[in-house]
Symmetry: C2
Subunit: 450 residues, 2 copies
């Protein structure tokens, strides 16, 4: 029953829903964030990001479509009988637009995947941890009732330290040995590392083939699987080699979180906290009330946090796909965090753990600059503690280690390091290179022993 | 004098010339080629490419702008005094359009390069052969009167066998060690291997930075530097990993051909012959008359052949950037040729040498299918002989070697190998998977001893 409901969703659902609002419940976000060009009076290297009342045209750029039979979402009354129909968040990128399906049991709904497979050949890229858990179900979802499709798989070692060129070559080797052609589809099954590597492999194999994201961690579900950033690490820095390459769809089966280790769960919540801080104060306040539920894996709370995070990410990506300004704000805490990841060695700290410590440092620096009041500093500290996330970098990190990695950050432009910093009331941030260098030095010294 | 003339060319020259045709001589090609959707009566897997009378709108898609003071071109009377002003062929790709500058002495016109450099940092990618000859002049052209720009360089080993991931990593290493940022520009200085590798590195470094092509071989000037195909080889096949990524401009200084070995010159002419065969019979006839001049490096003849080749390539790329059909026709002879290059080991045969033998095989197969008459077979054979190019694969090649490499060709779709074959009068071709398999087998057997 639920299956046939899902089958009735066509890829053109979005336009149908837009043209027939009476058929379903279409929610518009009530607030929006816009990047303003610097005024003649503002600092030249700063992009201020301010809350605005949303206009109908800008609201239309990202529409979160909640069907009457949507998956459990905190602020929706849902029909239990149809709880397996997915929530859909649309990423609006013109002819490269795609849906994010969110819900419980979606891996048991073959049509969701099959509608996005155009050729006859699929390569599933996964790792030694996730493969044994879900590869069989994904293969079944790809082929059930669809005998023309054949599925190959490549199983990579698990961990950020393998997000490198040598491991990427294993994907190309498998694709070429399997004689896959331009009409094949790559499927990323796993966390952020698998999604980033599979996406870059899809971007580069035969100069570009289709791909699909099936993220199985909170980190990948709320952040890395959405928006088309793909790539690998270089020994000198994270994600320095890659491509902007959008998937055909993102399928988030929230049931896959049942097998996620606690530490990975918390790591993903760091990115959830980030959305609240940079652009969604109401969401941050919701998190302050509901962090115990999230940590206890309450399905409804997790589903809501994932949906609202995807809405935030989809909106930003739709407005600024190639990161000319606004999109950079999604990297709050990441410049400090990448330095930690590189400094301690890839994989020793999880990405979200490093981002959590990095956000505390960015917030500390914002406070030193006089851009936020101390209540925000305290609230950030408290919510990360509640999520059992670090609030300081590891002791091994020195001021020099931070500076040397930050110098090769992708946000450096003509020698100037631009940072995402909070400014104003909760939910407001800036992406700027126009800050007092002493504040950065003071923050680094405050968090490093040497 | 010539320099100031060049300086007066702004990047928006194209639109200015279009809106003021009386200011200059704007030539429209008198014929055009269009890809037709298969009619209900045509074979389903074939794209027929037919000559059509050009309409003004389609002619406008590619405009070859010949200034009154253009570089020496056979069919133009030129002013000797202004002979250093470049001929410009525009590649029309919307907001990714770019000019191809063609002429003598262009490396001594700094403005041509500098107008396309947006940041302060440049990385020149070249090889051990070309670097000692031209790196100094290119560095001078990038920095003369422009002290804010700093130039790094990376010198790769020379040859197709180094067009691999290990060598590509040297470019990333240099870029990251030099702390280049997103506003940097990569410059490819060399032949097709350098252009393809540098372009892919630019596509992937920090998920994409600007790049410029300075091709120094006929092969690169008439083909590989134009159109945005970038990539590297895999041990199992050519160009299997890469990206479609367009440069900011292509600068062709025809003087660089003075240092080109004879064998490389001939290799490039194979691609020139190709344009005539697939879409420009008039150009083929011109080549039949002028091949001795081309082989003798007559500057005017070479400049004309390069310009007309670039016009053909630009037109095809503008109509079909991502190779959904029409663009594949540029690969006449390449499927057989790639098998030869892979079979004998990358670099033993030059690309154009393999393409020449491959074209002979494609023409042979077209004749076996009854699609062309024997006069074309003879003329292709004769012109390649005149260019001192091979007209058969090396003896080492077996039918099985051809088949195994051709099975991983990028033009395979759902298991079906599509080929570019000649059909009809000279200058007509098809890209099709709908051919008698026996003809392919007969051709392979005719050219292989086993």
């Amino acid at each position: 029953m639920a299956l046939s409901t899902a089958n009735s969703l066509s890829p053109s659902l979005s336009s149908k829903l837009k043209s027939k609002p009476s058929d379903c419940s279409v929610r518009f976000r009530s607030t929006n964030w816009i990047a303003l060009r610097p005024s003649p009076f503002s600092s030249p290297s700063s992009t201020e990001l301010r809350r605005s009342t949303v206009s109908s045209s800008s609201a239309n750029r990202v529409i979160s479509m909640i069907r009457a039979s949507a998956a459990p979402v905190i602020d929706q009354s849902v029909s239990e009988a149809n709880s397996r129909a997915p929530t859909i968040v649309e990423v609006d990128l013109g002819d490269r637009s795609y849906p994010i399906y969110i819900g419980s049991g979606l891996l048991d709904q073959p049509d969701l995947l099959q509608r996005h497979i155009h050729g006859k050949r699929v390569l599933v890229v996964t790792n030694e941890t996730v493969g044994p858990l879900y590869l069989g179900r994904v293969t079944d979802a790809l082929t059930r009732g669809n005998p023309n499709v054949s599925v190959e798989s490549v199983i990579l070692p698990d961990g950020e330290k393998y997000k490198d060129m040598d491991t990427l070559m294993k994907v190309f080797d498998k694709a070429i040995e399997s004689r896959l052609d331009r009409r094949c589809t790559f499927v990323a099954l796993g966390g952020g590392v698998i999604g980033d590597m599979c996406g870059f492999a899809a971007a580069a194999f035969l100069r570009g083939v289709n791909f699909i994201q099936i993220p199985t961690t909170v980190m990948a579900q709320v952040d890395s699987s959405v928006g088309g950033k793909t790539g690998i690490n270089h020994p000198l820095g994270k994600n320095l080699i890659g491509a902007f390459y959008q998937p055909q769809c993102v399928l988030i089966d929230t049931d896959t979180l049942n097998t996620l280790p606690d530490r990975e769960l918390a790591s993903g919540l760091a990115e959830v906290v980030k959305y609240g801080l940079i652009r969604d104060a109401e969401f941050f306040e919701w998190q302050e009330k509901n962090m115990p539920k999230l940590m206890a894996r309450d399905p409804s709370a997790l589903a809501y946090a994932i949906k609202r995070s995807c809405e935030n990410k989809a909106e930003v990506v739709s407005l600024d796909e190639k990161e000319s300004g606004l999109r950079a704000t999604l990297n709050l805490g990441h410049t400090f965090g990448h330095a930690i990841e590189t400094g301690v060695g890839y994989g020793r700290w999880l990405h979200g753990e490093a981002v959590a410590a990095g956000m505390v440092m960015a917030v500390d620096m914002s406070y030193r600059l006089g851009w936020i009041d101390d209540s925000i500093v305290r609230r950030v500290h408290d919510i990360l503690k509640e999520a059992k996330l670090p609030t300081a970098p590891p002791e091994i990190m020195t001021v020099e280690m931070f500076k040397s990695v930050m110098a090769v950050d992708k946000k450096v432009a003509d020698g100037l390091l631009r940072l995402i910093l909070l400014k104003g009331p909760l939910g407001n941030c800036v992406f700027t290179g126009d800050y007092d260098r002493n504040a950065l030095d003071d923050t680094l010294r405050a968090f490093c022993k040497s």
